[in-house]
Symmetry: C2
Subunit: 114 residues, 2 copies
C-alpha cells in the first residue's frame, strides 16, 4: 500500500488546538484540513488569519460569528470565511467539524511536529 496516498486517521496524532477542540490535521500542498471533535460548551475567541477557511459541521450545532454576523452552523448550513475575517464561535452540542484552510496553516504544522 502506498502510505503517501492511503492513510488512517488513527495514525494521525490528536492535538487539542484550543480547549475542547481535538484536531486531526492533514497538510497537503495547498491546504490544511482539520477534522475536529469539539466538546459541547467549548469556544474559540474571535481571531483572524490570512487563510481562507471553509467550515462544515458534520454532526452537531456550532454557533459561528464572522465579521459580527452570528449564525448556527449544522450539517445543512456552512461557512466560507474570507481571508482576514474576524471569526470565532462555540459548540452548542458535541460537534464533528471539518475546517479546510488555504493556504497551509504553517502554525498548525509546527504544532504537529512539536
Amino acid at each position: 500500500m502506498n502510505t503517501d496516498i492511503f492513510r488512517y486517521f488513527s495514525d494521525i496524532a490528536t492535538k487539542e488546538v484550543a480547549p475542547g477542540f481535538f484536531s486531526k490535521l492533514i497538510h497537503t500542498d495547498n491546504n490544511t484540513i482539520n477534522f475536529i471533535d469539539v466538546k459541547a460548551g467549548s469556544s474559540i475567541p474571535l481571531h483572524q488569519h490570512v487563510h481562507q477557511q471553509c467550515s462544515f459541521v458534520i454532526e452537531g450545532k456550532f454557533e459561528m460569528t464572522v465579521d459580527g454576523d452570528t449564525q448556527i452552523l449544522d450539517p445543512g448550513f456552512f461557512a466560507i470565511i474570507p481571508s482576514n475575517a474576524v471569526h470565532g464561535g462555540a459548540a452548542l452540542t458535541d460537534c464533528k467539524i471539518v475546517d479546510i484552510f488555504s493556504p497551509v496553516r504553517e502554525d498548525y504544522r509546527a504544532l504537529v511536529s512539536g
Copy 2:
C-alpha cells in the same frame, strides 16, 4: 446574514457528475469541495486530472484504486491523490464522500453553470 459567507446546502443544485454520483459543489478561491452521495454499486472509471484530490468517506465503504493500488476507504481511512495520478473506484455501499480538489475544478464549475 452575509450569504457570501453563510450558505445552505439546500441552495446548491445537485449535479449527477457521473452515474450514481450526486454532487453538491462549492468553489472557493483555491479549491473545489465536492459533497457527494453515491449509490451502492456506482463506479467511476480510471481517470486523471492535474488537480490534487483528497477523498474522505464520511459514511460507507468506497473501493478506490490509485496508481494501481486498490484499497477500501471508510470513515477511518482516506486518500490523498497526487496531481495526475490515475484513479477510479466503486461504492461498495451507499456512501457520503467529501472530495477536496486543488486548484478549482473549472470543468465542474462549468457543469454547475450549464
